[in-house]
């Protein structure tokens, strides 16, 4: 898989943190000695480290075990991609899905046992403090026009506890932002909005997997609204020390949701009418401005195989199939986003 394709896939499926880990994964893939290490169980992990670097003692063991953790993380990411991708095939192979899901569970259990959820964020090596990224995420998720003033207010006040809950709820959303930042550097704010709306995909992955495909963007935007509002109220009192446990819990919740979604759609397809009405209810209080953004970006939906840089090329007024009104809307949104991105990038 080339990096370009993975970026797009990740954007759509909300498994964005994979983008950052791709280099490690590929490195592991090309280095033949690594898979051997990877296949050894937990029991031998530390003894291997000690064998390899007897002189360095503890330091050596630590390096070896962190390499093991990185490989374990990349295996987890690979598995999650496989789970999501295989769900999009015409005929998902149930046996394969079950085996991959079991592998994911196994990794998660081991990581929980090790207490190594910290490694997940450490290994990413992301720049900037968590709060900055989270603020950006929330703002990008929010609907542009009605709350454009609100976004600035939110930026100012300390919303860290609330935003933290957002991270735990959609685990990958903060990493989603990584790609958004990269894209912005290419000076295309429109893509930023697109990616922003896709950020919301990460929260409720279920909606990516409705039969028939990559759902229309508007649904995802609306889900983001809903999830953000829901989680904000509940988890105001989250503290940093509880980060590990919360993340584990949310991870397991998210994963059980993942499993449910993977296997559930084997069932859902029989009773899809029920889930449709539930979705309708969710979207009843939708903010209409998103539809304008959506129509402007419709061009991208029809060409899913293009990598991100190609997307940037294609996004121009000449390709936009929209009216003047929506363009004006987008302009104000883009200015808003421009401002926010400046803050993040620190220019």
């Amino acid at each position: 898989m080339s990096a370009c394709i993975l970026v797009f896939v990740s954007t759509v499926l909300g498994c964005h943190y994979v983008v950052r880990l791709l280099p490690l994964w590929l490195a592991g893939h090309r280095d033949r000695s690594r898979p051997a290490m990877f296949s050894k169980g937990t029991k031998r992990k530390f003894s291997d480290g000690e064998d390899e670097m007897p002189d360095d003692g503890l330091a050596g063991a630590k390096v070896a075990s962190s390499a093991y953790s990185l490989q374990r993380q990349s295996l987890l990411d690979m598995s999650l991609i496989k789970l999501q991708l295989c769900h999009m095939l015409v005929e998902p192979n149930l046996c394969r899905s079950v085996l991959i899901a079991n592998t994911v569970r196994q990794i998660q259990e081991e990581m929980t046992h090790d207490g190594s959820w910290q490694v997940v964020s450490d290994s990413l090596g992301v720049e900037g403090s968590p709060s900055e990224r989270l603020v950006a995420t929330e703002v990008l998720c929010r609907s542009p026009s009605p709350s454009s003033t609100l976004s600035e207010q939110e930026l100012e006040r300390d919303t860290e506890p609330r935003l933290y809950s957002l991270v735990s709820y959609d685990d990958s959303s903060c990493r989603e932002e990584e790609v958004v930042a990269e894209v912005i550097e290419d000076d295309n704010e429109a893509l930023c909005s697109e990616a922003a709306s896709n950020v919301c995909l990460s929260g409720t992955m279920s909606h990516c997997w409705e039969p028939g495909e990559l759902r229309v963007q508007q649904n995802n935007d609306d889900i983001c609204e809903d999830s953000r509002l829901g989680s904000g109220d509940e988890d105001v009192d989250v503290e940093e020390e509880d980060e590990d446990e919360e993340e584990e819990q949310e991870m397991s919740q998210k994963e059980s949701k993942t499993m449910g979604q993977v296997f559930g759609t084997f069932e859902i397809k029989n009773g899809s009418s029920g889930s449709e009405s539930a979705l309708e209810e969710l979207f009843s209080d939708v903010d209409a401005s998103y539809y304008d953004l959506d129509t402007m970006l419709t061009g991208m939906q029809s060409t899913p195989k293009i990598g991100p840089y190609d997307l940037l090329d294609n996004l121009g007024p000449s390709h936009g199939p929209t009216s003047i009104g929506s363009t004006a809307n987008c302009r104000s949104d883009l200015n808003e986003l421009d401002h926010i991105m400046e803050i993040i990038v620190g220019s």
Binding site: F38, E91, P211, G264, F266, K269
Partner: protein
């Protein structure tokens, strides 16, 4: 593709023009005498080959001829569409099983993911001639021209093989059918999908009995699927099914109507030294076969074939390594999905030799008496009748001989 320096480079590209995806063979099955070989392909067709019988004196000494010629071809399954789920149903033939022969006709069962069909294969080499009311072309005669009566006589004609569908067993499975097995009672057969096993009567198409159901109430709790199932060759009440967790369950239909509770479970305890994240995946059993004697079971998982004694549940009595050199490549094989490939295994007629497939057109045969295994290559170019297949060796260390196949370059990434 594993060719060594000795053989000339064969250009296979011309074949690719004529061979399409639909021609890929997905299943093969001999009938009980070995005279007929049925193959199913991804395009839903079944091709039956018949052994050439030679009456030359020399051949009789050596045994039967090794040549098979096309006997009949028919379209078994067509691509279908499930409107409720908006999913295509593949026409690929997953399994073929012959029924024991009871008269001049042959019967076989073929199945795709959802529907099982019973086909009657019969020969016609005579036709009646001399009807009173019809002429040679079948048109009604003018009765005024009929002056005498005649008895129609059978005259030999060219051999015609007719294949007709006799039964269609549809709508019995929600998930993909992976196995069918004909019972020794000659009247029933089982079909297994990922989560359920049904027993059908060969004569009744609108009803089947569900005897195993491992679907959990909440699909989120699903951790195990059924991978293969087979009836016991002699005892019509016993069958086994294997799972993705590496267990084989023996069930007795006399115990209860629903055989969720197994009579015996065959499971090898995990080796803690070899444990990895892939342990479960490589332990998934892809095929299970009873021996002809009915005493042993043969199972195939990703790296090994195992022989189990029905009397001993705690572990296999024999384990043979098929391609142990892949154990260190599991991560890469997981990445490219090869780790999910399924291989079949089979006994010979005397249960003394077992055989299973591997990658790169290799297959492995193990002599149970000596415990030795041999690797053979199903190489197209040497496919003359009765030609001895070349044995191949996979280089895994030590002195490398000419002709050895390297794991990295040739086997895994080819």
């Amino acid at each position: 593709m594993g060719e060594d320096g000795e053989s000339p480079k064969i250009n296979h590209s011309f074949l690719r023009d004529y061979v399409t995806e639909a021609d890929v063979i997905s299943t093969v099955e001999f009938n009980h005498t070995g005279d007929l070989l049925a193959t199913g392909d991804k395009g839903g067709r079944v091709v039956i080959f018949q052994r050439e019988s030679e009456s030359k004196g020399e051949t009789d000494e050596l045994g039967e001829s090794g040549e098979y010629n096309v006997y009949s071809t028919f379209q078994s399954h067509e691509p279908d569409f499930d409107y409720l789920k908006s999913l295509e149903i593949e026409e690929k033939i997953n399994k073929i099983r012959w029924l024991p022969q009871q008269n001049a006709a042959h019967f076989l069962l073929s199945t795709n993911d959802k529907t099982i069909k019973l086909w009657k294969v019969s020969e016609r080499d005579k036709r009646p001639e001399g009807y009173n009311l019809k002429d040679e072309e079948g048109r009604l005669k003018d009765f005024s021209t009929v002056t005498s009566l005649q008895v129609p006589i059978l005259k030999p004609t060219d051999l015609m093989v007719e294949v007709r569908p006799r039964r269609v067993f549809a709508n019995g499975h929600t998930y993909h059918v992976n196995s069918i097995s004909v019972n020794s009672d000659g009247e029933t057969y089982l079909s297994a999908d990922d989560l359920r096993i049904n027993v059908w009567h060969l004569g009744i198409t609108d009803r089947s009995f569900n005897i195993v159901d491992i679907k959990p109430a909440n699909m989120e709790d699903l951790t195990e699927v059924i991978t293969a199932a087979e009836f016991h060759p002699q005892h019509c009440h016993m069958f086994v099914y294997s799972s993705s967790k590496g267990t084989i369950r023996l069930c007795d239909m006399r115990e209860s109507a629903l055989c969720d509770k197994h009579s015996k479970i065959f499971e090898e305890p995990e080796d803690p030294g070899n444990r990895s994240f892939f342990s479960e995946i490589i332990s998934s059993v892809s095929d299970v076969k009873f021996s002809h004697s009915g005493r042993y079971l043969l199972t195939r998982d990703y790296l090994t074939v195992k022989v189990w004694d029905l009397h001993m549940e705690k572990g296999p009595v024999e384990t043979y390594q098929v391609h142990e050199y892949l154990r260190s490549k599991l991560c890469s094989l997981y990445e490219n999905d090869c780790i999910f490939d399924k291989f079949e295994c089979v006994w010979n007629s005397t249960d003394s030799v077992i055989m299973t497939g591997a990658y790169n057109s290799f297959f492995r045969m193990f002599d149970r008496e000596t415990g030795r295994g041999v690797t053979l290559e199903a190489w197209r170019e040497s496919s003359k009748p009765r030609a001895v297949l070349r044995t191949r060796r996979v280089y895994t260390g030590g002195r490398r001989r000419r002709g050895d196949v390297g794991v990295d370059k040739d086997l895994v990434w080819a």
